[in-house]
Amino acid sequence: MKPALLLPLLAVLVVSASPVSAQAADGTRHQAAVFTIQDLSGADAPQDQSPAADTGDYQETITESVSAAFAADGYDVLAPATWQEEARRRNLPPRALLAESIAVEVARAAGADIAVTGYYAVQGERIYVSLQCWDVATGVLAVGLQQATQFNIGFYGTLFGQVTAMLARLRPPEASPAGAVASAAGSEPATGPGAGAGSTSASTSVSASGPGTPAGVSPPAIPVLDTVTFVSPDEGAELFLAGGARIGVVTDGRVVWQGAGVVAGSRFTVEKRKGGFHTGVETVRAAKEIRLRGLVAQKTLGLEADWTFGQLAGVGATLRMYPSPDAWFLFLGNYFYAQPPLTSAGYTVFHDDAGIGAGSYVIFPADSWVRLGVSTGAGAIFTATTGPVGAVYTDVYWDLFNWWIETRVLGPVIFLRQEIKFTLGTGLLGMQPMTVANFPPFTLGVVFRW
């Protein structure tokens, strides 16, 4: 537990261009969207979107303290449900709001003038807090705050005071000139993800120390990437952030995302779109250079070569036609095989299995390494005996249910399919399930698609 006594603030860095008013020029109160102050404790480079188990509980309290300071300063603080609904519509993970562009977009949609983002990190007995106030109208940083202090129950009161002090320096959003924005302490980025967007001014640091505060405490390193380069084999593909914000078009094999403002190592999702290819969704870790997987071309035809256990003295070929590329297909197949004699006294029997049907992939998308599918259909097996007893038989069957698993790990699509067929008693086989060694037949095959 943290000590009960209030310990002083260690360092507060507040930068602003001019004093502010909580009222707009027309006298109405400004709307502030205070997004959840994210817990980035436990790692210099956060690996996921989940708060640390033991420090994540402070998120709500810290966010409420910040909100209370805004409210006390005359701002209308939007109910969290208001902006959470907008975030939900965009399918945004919690930390996505650390990105300036996303935060501003969500705040604007929620009707706010000011977007407040921030994060904190607890290290031992200390806590580091970083807050940013974004002018929704211009998208630029209006003011920022960073502080590192002892983490105890007095921290919240201190935080309230520091936010109030920060707001005193906040100039009216509508008056914020682009570029005249806050920066950060020391050489650290001023803000979390997105801070780089539009931030061009030199920073001015103002430090303050509370009573008894030892000086010279550095905040924990939270590496933020302003520029991220995506390397992609799909020339001309468009990249989007999950939620729709466009990153750019792959040109000469890469896309440079300026002003990314993402925390190094954090995860985010990229959507890849290109005509004639399946849209790809890929979750990546933030790094200076991110290599994206190639998109999967949409295929409308496929030719399958297959071998069925028990019918190995032959080969099958099936033509697949995909009305919906790589999703479902109609097929027309034929399998010709010989049934060799068991001893030298016997004679070879020939079978030809012709069938039609429809199949569909299930569960896994087109760019998965492994996919599952199901199919059904009907067909007939023509059997010709040789030797002294020559005869031809026809066994009509219902291809009741097939399922298969396929993979592309070896290059071409290789599949293993189990076939549950039911013969209708028209020939040599009775009205019964068709089996090989008392099991439904298995077919191994390869599919070439184009």
Binding site: Q339, P388, L429, V436
Partner: protein
Amino acid sequence: MVRHAWHAAAAAALTLPLSACVFFLSPFPATLSQVVAKTDLSSVIPAADADSYQPCVLTPTGGDFVVLMKPNSSTDPCALVLDSDLHLIQSYTHSQLALSGGGGFAITDASGDAALGGVSFTTSALAQGLAPSGSLNGTRLSAPSFSSPNAGKNDVNFPYSGSTITYQQYSLWSSTPDSPTHTAQVDAAGNSYQVEGVYNVDDTPAAGSVVLVLSEQGDSSHVTFVRIPLYDLTTSATGFPKSPLLSNYTWKSYDSVPSSSIGFAGDCMVGYSENDRALNRYSLSNFDVIQSLPIGSSDYRLQYAYRPSGGYAVIYDPTARTLTKVANWW
């Protein structure tokens, strides 16, 4: 592309040998490729009476015949005689076979002739479709029987059902059976059985064996193989065979093996197991399964008969009224 082709070839090279174990399996009966002859008998077998026929393979001296007999019916024809290529030679009525009172069985008798019902044929007579060449001196084969050429004995008419077996033994076809009458209880509990067949599997006088195929009364697919020394069935000494059979001789039971599929095939017993959906070969020494051939489901009405000296089987399909000759699959 070359890399992909290599991967595909490697996968196929690994997979195909692994699949070789099922190379000979098929959705179709494995014996389909062993069919060497087939004949349609629908023109000579009345549809209403098709279920009454049972096939057997007779090998009188120098001959090889397939005979369809009617053990339990008195309507004609009583017997159809075909050569080993399933060409119909002749059909015989009950009266021609001295079976005016009912159906009959057929065996190759101790003198090397073919005994059908109450008469006998030499190989030549049977091959030419002639009238019977001899009689059984009043004996009529009305139940499973066997012969021992080496012992000069014909052991006939093992009873169809009951808790004891009683049969008559003839030295060749003497006018009266040897004495005493041979009787033995099957099991100590006195359960009722049905004799489905009796096969002389080794005619060595001192060391040979006979296999008795029994089924439980009312359940012809629960079969019991009993191996009895040939001596115990052909001696005139009293006390033989030893009673009860199942306490004195090697035996083994199987469920779901239709008795109509069982036969002696020269070096083993053969039957179709409904549980395994396979043709099984059973050892003559202890009746363990020594080999299986999965053939899928099989019509229980099919009637099998095997050439006692090996080589082939014939399968009678009463639905289609066809007879099919199948080369042995082992």
